[in-house]
C-alpha cells in the first residue's frame, strides 16, 4: 500500500514536470439544446474524414444509461453520409465522396441541454494524380503525408480517451457525493423514525388518552 502510494506520487511529480511541455489535448465542446451543427470544409474528393465525440454527462438521476444524442453527417449535395442514433459517444470515419462543406449535426431528443465534446479531422494523402499535376511534390511527400495521418489518428484517439476520462470523472464525483449524502440521510431518517416510534408509544400509554385501552 505504501509502495503504491509512493508510485502514484512519483507519477504526479512527473506529470507536473511534463505539464509545461505537453501537446495540448483538447476537444471542442458545444452545448446542445435542441440541434447544433458544425461545418467542416473538405478540400479534395476522397479525403478521409475522421473524428469522435463524447457526451459529457450532466447529472443523470435514475437511469444508468445516458439517453444519448443523434449524430448526422450531411454531404454538400444534401444526402446523409453517416448517422449514429442514441449514442453517448462514438468514433466515426468515412471517405468524402466529393469536396465541399460537410455538416456535422448533433440532435438532442430530450429537453435537458447536454454538452458534447468533439473532434473532427480531415486528412489528405496526395495520390499519383496530384503528383503528376504538381512538379514540386515528390513520392517521399506521399510517405510523409501517410506518417502525418497516422500521427493524427493517434492524436484523435487520445482526444477521445481524454473526453471519456472527463466523463468518467464526472460520474465518479457524482457517485461519491451520492454515497455520502444518501448514507447520512439514511442515518437521520433512521434516528427520526425510531424517535417517532418512541413518542407514539409514549402517547399510547399516557393518561389523557384512554388509559385502559392498551
Amino acid at each position: 500500500m505504501e509502495r503504491r502510494q509512493a508510485k502514484i506520487h512519483v507519477f504526479v511529480l512527473i506529470g507536473l514536470i511534463l505539464l509545461n511541455s505537453i501537446n495540448q489535448i483538447s476537444s471542442l465542446s458545444v452545448t446542445v439544446n435542441d440541434e447544433e451543427c458544425v461545418q467542416e470544409y473538405v478540400l479534395y474528393e476522397g479525403d478521409t474524414v475522421s473524428g469522435n465525440f463524447v457526451v459529457v454527462d450532466h447529472d443523470i438521476f435514475w437511469g444508468s444509461d445516458h439517453p444519448g444524442l443523434d449524430f448526422t453527417v450531411t454531404s454538400p449535395a444534401g444526402n446523409i453520409v453517416q448517422t449514429l442514433k442514441g449514442t453517448s459517444g462514438d468514433k466515426f470515419e468515412f471517405k468524402a465522396p466529393r469536396s465541399g462543406m460537410y455538416k456535422f449535426c448533433f440532435h438532442n431528443p430530450y429537453s435537458t441541454p447536454e454538452t458534447v465534446s468533439f473532434y473532427i479531422h480531415v486528412g489528405h494523402i496526395p495520390n499519383e494524380h496530384d503528383l503528376a499535376k504538381d512538379e514540386h511534390l515528390d513520392p517521399v511527400n506521399v510517405k510523409i503525408a501517410e506518417l502525418r495521418e497516422a500521427l493524427e489518428s493517434v492524436v484523435a484517439e487520445q482526444k477521445y480517451l481524454k473526453a471519456r476520462d472527463t466523463r468518467h470523472r464526472h460520474t465518479n464525483e457524482s457517485t461519491r457525493k451520492r454515497v455520502i449524502l444518501y448514507t447520512v440521510g439514511e442515518y437521520i431518517f433512521l434516528a427520526a423514525a425510531s424517535g417517532l416510534q418512541v413518542l407514539y408509544i409514549r402517547k399510547l400509554f399516557s393518561k389523557s388518552v384512554a388509559y385502559n385501552r392498551v
Binding site: V12, S21, S26, H121, N141, L190, V198
Partner: protein
Amino acid sequence: MAISPVLFIGLICLAGGGSLFPAVEAIWLTVPTSGERCVYEDIQANVVVVLDYICIDEAFTQLGPTLDVRVTSPYGKELYKIANVTHGQAAFTTSESGTFLACLAMHHDQSHHSVNNSVIVSLDWKMGIRAKDWDSVAKKEKIEASPSFPIHIYGVELEIRKSTEYASAIRANILYLRIREAYMREINEKTNQRVAQLALMSFGVAFGVSIIQVWHLKRFFLKKKLL
C-alpha cells in the same frame, strides 16, 4: 471583391494551414443574427493558444458581416474582447487550467447583410505544439542547413521535424492520461472503501438506535408502573 468560392476557401485554408499539405483544423460555425454562439475548450495551464477566426457570408464570396468576439478564462476573466471585426487572431497563454469559453456574436445593426439569419464563421484553435510557428523555424534552420542539400529535400526535412515533435508530444500526452487515470483509480478505490465503511456504520447506527429505544421504553414503563 467577388472571387470564386472554392478559390477563396482554398486560400483561407492554406493561409491557416501554412504547411505543404493544407490539413485544415478549422471548424465552421453558424452564428445566428441574435444571440451568441459559444464553444468551450478544456485547456491546461501554461499553454500557448492561438485562435483564428474569419467571417464569411452565406454565398461564400466575400468577407461578411462584422462580429463581436470574446474569450473568457474559466474564472470569468476576459482574455480577449473585440467588436466589429470580420477576421482576426487572438493569442494568449493560459494561466490556469479549466474550461475556456469563446463566444461569437454578430455585431448589432448588421441586418442588411444577413441572408438567412446566420453567417458562417471559421474558428481555428491551435494550442501548444500546433501553435508553433514553423515558418520562423524553417527560416532559422535554413541558415544552418548544409548548402549541399537540394531545396526540395529541405522541405521534407521540415516535415519530418514536425512529425518528430508531434510524436514526442503524443508520448507526453499518453503519460499525462496515465497519471489522470491513476488518480481516478485511487478515488474509485477510496469510494469503494467508503461504501463498505458506511454500510457497517449504518448497521451500527441501527443497532444503537434500537438499543436506545428499548432502554428508553423499559424505563418509561417501569416509571409508569406497568411492568
